[in-house]
């Protein structure tokens, strides 16, 4: 189930809202939400829902023990066991194939590589569960006595599958006490439709182009549904069918061209951003419709002027998790800072996917962050903003090369293509580039905070000039925006087929 499915928007959501409104007390409301969330997950993972339930149940139980033996050594033991249980689920279901196959490769073993199904959202809900047990141990969070509330926290469908990673601490109060009014509900709607637009109008399309240019589907993703969409993506995606240019006149071989590599990665970057942040927007919007307030997960990362800033704006909830639950406990910047940074970034990489290229990707950012830190201290050089932005953008774009291809040889080939000149030999690519170049500009404009800033300023100016007119204009703009987005996205969605969210694989 994805939020951009018509089934979700026009069947699941209205039914869910209706049931929610009909229920009076917060307890019943929570029951409704929990039931809806379980149904939601069961539709995605009819079998593996059991794993989520076991993971959540064990954490719920261990939290009691941790709380009971607070201060005693046993408390620590129970925490360790609880964390181990949760991590082991993640490990087995997500990483076992990687480690086994690596071991097989290294020691030429004769064991079969397990083929394990990766349950959707396991990377997200495992971390959410961890924040609860650890915070209970630390005394930061109170024990949650109600299994209803706890399971609701873990399974809540808006953020269940692809974040943001909501911490128990941030939301514990809202589980028992929250309110909705027209303003919040309306802002939830606007937010949801905004995310819908990012996903359907930008991410899918940019993804199609990226795939055409780079030539392969990102490995290990269900990202591209097996049936070619008839939607906007279709033509371009299918264009890829000839991957490698079956007919490229003359020399088809020789690898990807420099132009294709850069443009493909730019589009891919936008795809990832719009896909993921669109999902977060939808999650936040849906949350608001049910009275929950989640923290922001993306704050226009492509406007960053340094990599440090980029990571403060990109997938914020993940960064915060690693900071508070890994980096600081390891000693933060007081002890072994380099080691801590290395660990955090390797884990960050690995979290994104069970393959070594993701580890490499994490290390790449780790190294650059360290460099940035020390260089700025040593040289005290302050780059002019545009230069800083350009450098950051380039560094991030290069990182997608490592991110996109799980095969390291291909990664190397990409990097070679990017940094040495390889002329374009494939006719087809030229056509695709010609045609879609303008969309790159559109993506960039949409990814920057320009429109938002402009709107805020205009409203500010308007309110001082004429408050009423500004209120009328502001309200109608929101209304038009939400209605238009819903309409256009539905139109694009009707007749187009399955396009799962990219981040499902993490």
């Amino acid at each position: 189930v994805v939020f951009s499915d018509l089934t979700f928007i026009y069947a699941f959501l209205p039914l869910c809202l209706l049931a929610y409104w009909l229920s009076r007390s917060i307890k019943v409301k929570n029951c409704v939400l929990l039931a809806a969330s379980l149904l939601f997950y069961a539709l995605c993972e009819p079998v593996y829902i059991i794993i989520m339930l076991i993971a959540a149940g064990s954490a719920f139980g261990f939290a009691f023990l941790i709380d009971r033996f607070r201060g005693a050594r046993a408390s620590r033991v129970f925490l360790a066991v609880s964390v181990a249980v949760n991590i082991s689920f993640l490990f087995v279901y997500k990483y076992a194939p990687l480690f086994v196959s690596t071991a097989v490769g290294l020691f030429s073993l004769k064991i079969p590589i397990p083929r394990i199904h990766l349950p959707i959202g396991i990377s997200f809900y495992t971390f959410q569960i961890l924040t609860y047990t650890i915070d209970v141990y630390r005394g930061k969070s109170k024990l949650q006595p109600s299994p209803l509330n706890f399971f609701l926290y873990v399974t809540m469908f808006p953020q269940l599958l692809a974040g943001p990673i909501v911490r128990y601490d941030d939301i514990s109060g809202q589980l028992e006490n929250r309110y909705i009014n027209a303003e919040r509900f309306a802002s939830g709607i606007v937010r949801f439709t905004c995310g819908l637009g990012k996903k359907i109008l930008f991410a899918d399309y940019a993804g199609g182009i990226a795939e055409s240019l780079l030539g392969v589907t990102p490995v290990g993703t269900a990202f591209i549904g097996e049936e070619g969409a008839q939607g906007a993506l279709h033509g371009i995606r299918e264009g890829l069918g000839v991957a490698g240019g079956a007919f490229a006149a003359g020399a088809g071989a020789g690898g990807i061209s420099t132009l294709c590599a850069w443009l493909g990665l730019l589009f891919f970057g936008f795809q990832v951003y719009f896909d993921f942040s669109g999902y977060s927007d939808m999650a936040i919007g849906l949350g608001r419709m049910f009275g929950f307030e989640y923290l922001e997960n993306f704050k226009h990362p492509f406007s960053s002027k340094s990599i440090t800033e980029f990571w403060r704006r990109w997938h914020i909830s993940l960064g915060m998790f690693f900071r508070d639950y890994v980096y600081i406990p390891l000693g933060g910047n007081r002890r072994y800072q380099i080691r801590n940074i290395a660990v955090v970034w390797m884990l960050t990489g690995l979290w994104h996917g069970a393959d070594w290229n993701f580890v490499l990707w994490g290390c790449y950012f780790g190294i650059i962050l360290v460099l940035e830190k020390y260089l700025s201290k040593m040289i005290r050089l302050k780059l002019p903003a545009p230069v800083g932005w350009a450098c950051t953008f380039t560094v991030v774009t290069v990182s997608w090369a490592i991110f996109y291809f799980t095969d390291l040889a291909t990664v190397w080939d990409m990097l070679t293509a990017m940094f040495t000149y390889r002329p374009e030999r494939n006719f087809q690519m030229t056509g695709i580039i010609n045609e879609n170049l303008f969309f790159l500009a559109v993506c960039l404009a949409a990814a920057m905070p320009w429109a938002k800033r402009l709107y805020t300023r205009a409203m500010y100016w308007g309110e001082r000039k004429n408050g009423r007119a500004a209120a009328v204009v502001g309200s109608s703009l929101s209304l038009i925006y939400a209605a238009a987005m819903l309409f256009i996205c539905s139109a694009v969605r009707v007749g187009s087929s399955f396009s799962p969210f990219l981040y499902f694989r993490f």
Partner: protein, 676 residues
């Protein structure tokens, strides 16, 4: 001081957002229950998904939600209107995106999945690539369709074999000659498998399979793909060796009413001239397929040898009928031999024999496909469609070995025939239309022609290159079809007649006619792609010239010319479907004899492909007897014998240069070998 009012305004605004949004959701959700659930979408030309089952009797359907979502969006209220909006959005994007510069190019690779549903599928117009019999003739390029996506609900569908089908695709090479039923079977299965996947997706993966020609069978098996697959199939049937039997390709069923091409042979059927299926004889794949229908048709008097067919069928259907056969046979096809059924039914029948199993998609066929390819030549590969300023064409990729092989083959044939022989091969669209700045992406054709002419000893190479290049701004090729126009063919005619020392007849002396609004093969190849809008602005028109002299046409079935029927040079009033290029002779004819009232005793035999359609009528101005043979339709054709028997004095090879010198498309050499 205004804050209270402002707050109220904002409140109203917020409330209305909530109201509009929730109303939309609820209204659509409610409407969903009342909307009529259709089974076929005319706009998209595909079957719509049905309600999936949650419990299939043994296990929970794992893809229930996915299937349900597909169903939900397929049955969405105002779906067609939404699709139009969708299309409008895409058109806007295309308009924004496509550079206004006339020199800029749009490239669309022939997406295989697309072909699944493309009306073009079976290579209806028989062009070189589309030829099913030997290559999986997919659409005009006859590429392997990798798969559309299986059709929804394959009846046979074993539980869920994910319709990931792609296999259909590779089936390509299954050579099915009439008579070689065995192979067919294999091909079919693949397809079948494909289509079958319960999980199959909308879109008839089958089709691509179908591509293979008659084997289209695939579709058949796929059951649901039924329709789709079937489509692939039909054309196949038509093209098949025994085309005759094929009957009309026109797919005319009410619910799938699309503009199918009128099958080449189809016309005949339609005309009742030959109709029927049975001809091929029981041992022929076709015959089997047809069975039932033909039997039915027999009544209409269409089928010549229905009996045979019927028998054969009984076999076929008995087994497979269950799948699709039933459906196709049933209503739509039967009538008037409309739907050859060939494809479809066959599929059904044979698929079954062949033990269609959903589990073994395509392997065999794929393997065969491989073996069919020689090192350099890539059959069934598309070079994609390029569009420059409304002109569509395909890119040319040179193959030296192919060129030499072609030259050697026709040389040997000419030597054996012992009459003056000529070769006409027009330059490709890309040579004419590719803007200067993209020249580097294709191979120049001039060297290809030089090599060709240098390799010929017994055949006179008639050079048209400069003539064409000098006139490249004229309307020599259609904008949306890969064929040349009658004007293009006229240039070739002029060159050829001069080369033989004769005097060509001026164009203005001939009576001309024209049919408007033609969207041709290249359009059909990409019609699902949003770029197809670029071709819709300026559809083609088909101009035709009537020979100066009264000319009669007889279409023969066999090389001995024992059986045939009356045809016509031009059939502007015929049922052409969308393929207006078939205005010439009504399409591909296996052996065509044209007798002109010029009565000068000259006679010529033309070994040709579909480029012959537009060309042959001109010959009636200079030759009393014109014979034209399409080697694709024969298992073997004793050319020298034929020439001797009929006292023919000249021999002309007419092939598009992509066939003669290119690396992709249809492999013509084996076809020529049949003439030796």
């Amino acid at each position: 001081m205004d804050s209270a009012v402002e707050r109220r305004i904002k409140n109203i605004g917020n409330t209305s957002i909530c109201a509009v949004f929730t109303c939309c959701l609820f209204v659509m959700a409610l409407l969903f229950f009342f909307v009529e659930k259709r089974e076929f979408s005319d706009i998209e030309n595909r079957e719509l998904a049905g309600i999936p089952v949650l419990w299939n009797g043994e296990t929970v359907n794992n893809s229930f939600y996915t299937d349900f979502d597909r169903f939900y969006s397929d049955a969405f209220p105002f779906r067609d209107q939404f699709l139009l909006v969708n299309r409008a959005i895409q058109t806007v994007y295309t308009a924004l995106a496509v550079p206004g510069d006339d020199d800029d190019i749009v490239f669309i690779s022939t997406s295989v999945a697309d072909m699944g549903n493309s009306p073009n599928i079976g290579g209806i117009d028989m062009e070189p690539g589309a030829r099913p019999a030997t290559q999986g003739g997919g659409a005009p390029g006859g590429f392997n369709g990798t798969g559309g996506t299986g059709g929804p609900n394959g009846p046979n569908g074993p539980n869920d074999t994910n319709g990931t089908v792609g296999n259909g695709g590779d089936i390509s090479g299954v050579a099915v000659r009439p008579g070689e039923t065995g192979d067919t079977g294999a091909g079919i299965n693949n397809g079948g498998a494909t289509g079958t996947g319960a999980d199959s997706q909308p879109g008839g993966g089958a089709s691509p399979g179908g591509v293979n020609g008659g084997q289209g069978g695939q579709g058949g098996q796929g059951g649901n793909g039924a329709d789709n697959g079937g489509w692939g199939g039909n054309p196949g049937g038509a093209n098949r060796g025994d085309a005759i039997n094929a009957g009309s390709l026109k797919y005319d069923s009410p619910d799938t009413a699309r503009d199918w091409e009128t099958g080449v042979n189809g016309d005949r059927a339609g005309d009742g001239a030959n109709g029927g299926a049975g001809e091929a004889g029981p041992e022929d794949g076709y015959a089997e397929g047809h069975g039932d229908e033909n039997a039915g048709e027999g009544a209409d008097g269409a089928g010549v040898d229905n009996e045979d067919g019927a028998d054969a069928n009984s076999g076929g259907n008995a087994a497979g009928g269950s799948a699709v056969g039933g459906e196709n046979a049933g209503g739509d096809n039967a009538a008037g031999g409309e739907n050859t059924a060939g494809g479809n039914n066959i599929a059904a029948g044979e698929g079954v024999d062949g033990t269609a199993s959903a589990d073994a998609p395509g392997a065999g066929a794929a393997a065969q496909a491989q073996t069919r390819r020689n090192d350099e030549y890539e059959a069934n590969e598309s070079t994609g469609v390029s569009i420059v300023a409304g002109q569509a064409f395909e890119i040319f990729v040179f193959s030296e070995s192919r060129t030499i092989a072609y030259a050697e083959t026709i040389d040997a044939i000419a030597a054996k025939c012992g009459v003056p022989a000529y070769l006409l091969t027009p330059p490709s669209g890309s040579e004419l239309f590719l803007p200067e700045k993209y020249r580097g992406f294709q191979n120049e054709q001039k060297p290809a022609f030089n090599l060709l002419s240098a390799s010929l000893k017994n055949v006179t190479y008639v050079d048209m290159y400069d003539t064409f290049m000098n006139a490249k701004d004229d309307y020599l090729y259609f904008k949306t079809d890969h064929h040349w126009t009658a004007d293009g063919a006229y240039l070739a005619y002029e060159r050829f007649i001069r080369a033989t020392g004769g005097a060509p007849v001026g164009r203005n002396r001939m009576k001309e006619g024209r049919i408007d609004d033609f969207l041709g093969s290249l359009y059909r190849q990409i019609y699902k792609d949003r770029h197809s809008a670029l071709l819709e602005h300026e559809p083609d028109y088909v101009r035709y010239y009537e020979p100066l002299y009264e000319t009669t046409v007889t279409n023969y079935v066999d090389a001995e010319m024992t059986e045939g029927w009356q045809g016509a040079v031009l059939v502007p009033d015929g049922d052409l479907g969308t393929n207006l290029y078939n205005v010439f002779f009504g399409g591909d004819m296996r052996l065509l004899y044209m007798r002109s009232a010029i009565s000068n005793g000259r006679s010529i035999l033309v070994v040709r492909d579909s480029f012959g359609h537009a060309f042959l009528p001109f010959l009636a101005n200079n030759y009393e007897h014109v014979y034209a043979v399409e080697p694709r339709y024969f298992d073997e054709f004793p050319l020298a014998q034929f020439i001797a028997d009929n006292g023919i004095s000249e021999l002309l090879f007419l092939n598009h240069s992509i066939l003669a010198t290119g690396r992709y498309w249809y492999n013509w050499i084996p076809e020529l070998e049949k003439l030796k």
